[in-house]
């Protein structure tokens, strides 16, 4: 006979009970068949009758509402189906058949290299070396001034040190929270995003320059920074904590912190300045999608500046 399985909670922390009885009591008291350690659940909250292939829930307490798939039960008893999500207090449970087919196994990211053996240490260190090299290379390739190796190497070293310390902080947090530091995995993730972060500024500038659009530079740079930090923080939080929605939390944090910076920038730009701040990006014309203006067309764009001044002055 196919047994019913009572599942309390979700994911890795879920508890599973195989039911041997037709009528099962659920509550906080130890005398219940299913004990739920939740202060918002009554000592004897409800009963579930599994006889006759129907699942009937009978409420024993009304202090807090019991929800089935997000809707409160209005009557003393209610029929539920297999897989329905029932919320009592702050606990979720559901009922399933033990014959239910399990979902396909998820594949771990680079598990053979990250979780075992030689590559677990070498891969993050190689990534760190790559970041160091890229930082040096970007500086050397871009600076028109005399190459000052001491300065360039020191910059790259400090950048890598920040990555190691950042990974160390998350590794230490993982050790405290999950008893696993995952330092080398954290380092590998941090190196990956550091590389993307290094490319954000030149990429956004080339993109904006190609379309002759200052807003595009700003937006693409901010989007890349947001994605870098959200991805970085999301993955690192996943390894270092028990947060179930680490990317959601990371996105929220990044929205708050970066949003605060950008809001400050926005209001700062609104303030008076005696300096002429123009779109000063000039890049090698690798790809430019915009046709140049004639002198007359350019003077028309200058003419628009007078209207802009007048409009801004009216706003003030």
């Amino acid at each position: 006979m196919d047994k019913l399985v009572f599942i309390v909670g979700k994911g890795k922390n879920a508890q599973f009970y195989k039911l041997d009885k037709d009528v099962v009591s659920v509550g906080r008291a130890l005398a219940n068949d299913i004990v739920i350690a939740d202060g918002y659940v009554d000592a004897r909250q409800l009963e579930i009758n599994c006889a006759e292939n129907r699942l009937k829930v009978t409420l024993m307490d009304y202090t807090n509402p019991v929800l089935v798939n997000g809707r409160p039960i209005e009557n003393d008893s209610h029929f539920i189906a297999l897989g329905d999500e029932v919320v009592v207090g702050r606990t979720v449970f559901s009922l399933h058949r033990e014959s239910e087919v399990a979902e396909p196994t998820q594949k771990l990211f680079m598990a053979r290299h990250l979780y075992s053996g030689f590559w677990r240490f070498i891969l993050p260190l190689l990534a760190l070396l790559l970041v160091f090299s890229c930082s040096v290379l970007l500086d050397v390739l871009q600076t028109p001034e005399k190459i000052e190796w001491g300065f360039i190497l020191r910059n790259a070293f400090v950048f890598c040190l920040v990555i190691v310390v950042w990974s160390g902080v998350f590794g230490f947090s993982g050790r405290l929270i999950k008893h696993q530091h995952h330092f080398f995995s954290q380092l590998l993730i941090a190196c990956g995003f550091a590389f993307l972060f290094m490319m954000a500024e030149p990429l956004s500038e080339y993109l904006g320059y190609a379309f002759d659009n200052e807003t595009l530079v700003l937006l693409s740079f901010r989007l890349m920074v947001f994605m870098c930090f959200t991805g970085l923080l999301g993955l690192m939080l996943r390894l270092a904590s028990n947060l179930k929605r680490s990317f959601f939390v990371a996105g929220g944090l990044c929205t708050f912190v970066l949003g605060a910076f950008w809001l400050f920038d926005y209001y700062d730009a609104e303030e008076f300045t005696p300096y002429a701040n123009h779109f000063s990006v000039v890049k090698a014309p690798i790809v430019v999608f915009v046709e140049p203006l004639t002198i007359e067309q350019y003077l028309e764009s200058v003419d628009q500046l007078f209207s802009e001044i007048e409009a801004n002055d009216t706003d003030d």
């Binding site: 390739l141 200052e214 779109f279 990006v281 000039v282 090698a284 200058v302 001044i309």
Partner: protein
């Protein structure tokens, strides 16, 4: 005495005699004229104390005094906060009112309750080059003084006509009279440029303002007077600049306008620092003087610069990063307060000139109290070469809309690359 003075004028006395003659003349002039020179004070109504001082002098028996615009500029900006006062040679003070101002030539006419007193005669003829002249004023509130110097003619490269006075004016003497040996006014003290290097406003400018002042009625909006004077001044200057053909000279591989106006002086150099990985040549041209509106706002400047960059050593990315570092607007050091100017509105566009691609940016801001006048910033950089590039930057303070467009059009159409 008259004989000695005549001899000195013809250079017939020895140097020591000249010095003695000049010294005696100065003391005679001081004794005769000190009752015609006043200290002009701007008084803060709140504290009742003076906030700035200058000098002034009587020019008729109706109580009209002459001084510099910059002596009373603070009062013009905030008449509700300040009032004007004079102090005569005996220390007696009294109220004065502003009758007219000429911001362009830095002059102002005041009226005091001292009618019927002695006054200076405004001279008819200029002194001879090298002739002894005298300047009176109250330096640093130390008391009335007279100093000697030499008349050295008009400054040829000044946009606003000035006399070069080889004497040493000091703060507080502004607005005081400059006299010839006969005690006639030949100019008005205005500024100094260094040791024994001072400047005077020619008396003709004072006469013109005095004539206008006599026709003024009460309740004049002095900001409007300034606005009209500035508009007229820039109109004359830029129309002259734009209508006259420009001389074109070679600048490295460019053909460019050179010495576009008599009031503009150019300087140039080549950076030969052995550590540089590129060659850098520049030429900087600018007008030599500016108009003082008030302590935080000047105008009238025109500055432009040519930069040439070339390198065989730099890669394409490095070279364009170098070009980017030169693609900036000059710091037009004229106004820093939001009460005076709006924020800059800027653009940046690709432009085709003479078959080549350029990157151009223009920034403009308007004067808030002097509507219709703008500060212009312009920079343009060549993009077609990855080994050589040219950048032109220009800044003009206090220019009208139609002149902005005409100036930029003429400037861009004069840029030629020599193949």
């Amino acid at each position: 005495m008259v004989f000695r003075y005549c001899l000195s004028a013809f250079g017939l006395l020895a140097a020591s005699d000249l010095q003695a003659a000049g010294g005696e003349r100065a003391s005679e002039l001081y004794a005769a004229m000190q009752n015609r020179v006043f200290q002009i004070r701007v008084i803060d109504i709140g504290s009742g104390d003076k906030t700035s001082i200058g000098s002034g002098f009587s020019i008729d028996d109706k109580g009209f005094l002459a001084t510099n615009h910059h002596v009373v500029a603070r009062y013009i900006q905030k008449p509700e906060k300040y009032r004007l006062e004079y102090v005569d040679f005996e220390g007696e003070s009294g109220a004065i009112k502003l009758v007219d101002t000429d911001v362009v030539n830095d002059l102002a006419i005041l009226e005091c309750d001292c009618k019927g007193g002695p006054f200076f005669v405004l001279g008819e003829e200029l002194a001879l080059q090298g002739e002894r002249i005298y300047s009176m004023g109250n330096p640093h509130d130390l008391g009335m003084t007279i100093i000697e110097g030499n008349f050295n003619g008009y400054i040829r490269t000044s946009r606003y006509q000035k006399i070069l006075f080889s004497g040493s004016l000091n703060g507080g003497m502004s607005g005081g009279p400059a006299l010839d040996g006969l005690g006639q006014v030949i100019g008005v003290n205005v500024s100094k440029g260094g040791e024994q290097l001072s400047f005077l406003v020619p008396v003709e400018k004072l006469k013109a303002l005095y004539k206008r002042a006599k026709s003024r009625t009460a309740n004049i909006d002095f900001m409007e007077v300034m606005r009209k004077d500035l508009q007229e001044d820039q109109r004359l200057f830029y129309e002259d600049l734009i209508q006259k053909p420009w001389r074109v000279e070679n600048f490295v591989k460019m053909k460019l306008p050179d010495d576009i106006h008599a009031s503009i002086k150019c300087w140039g150099d080549t950076d030969d620092d052995p550590d540089l990985r590129y060659q850098y040549v520049y030429q900087n041209c600018e007008t030599q003087d500016s108009i003082y509106i008030h302590e935080d706002h000047t105008t009238g400047e025109l500055v432009y610069q040519y930069d040439w960059l070339a390198s065989d050593e730099l890669n394409k990315i490095q070279f364009f990063n170098l070009l980017e570092s030169y693609f900036y607007h000059m710091d037009l050091d004229t106004a820093y307060e939001k009460e005076d100017v709006t924020n800059y509105a800027c653009n940046a566009r690709f432009v085709e000139i003479d078959g080549m691609r350029w990157r151009a940016s223009t920034c403009l801001r308007e004067y808030k109290k002097l509507r219709g006048l703008y500060d212009l910033q312009f920079v343009i950089a060549s993009l077609d070469g990855d080994k050589e590039a040219f950048i032109l930057s220009l800044a003009a303070a206090g220019i009208e809309k139609k002149n902005v467009e005409a100036l930029l059009k003429k400037l861009m159409s004069h840029i030629k690359w020599i193949n």
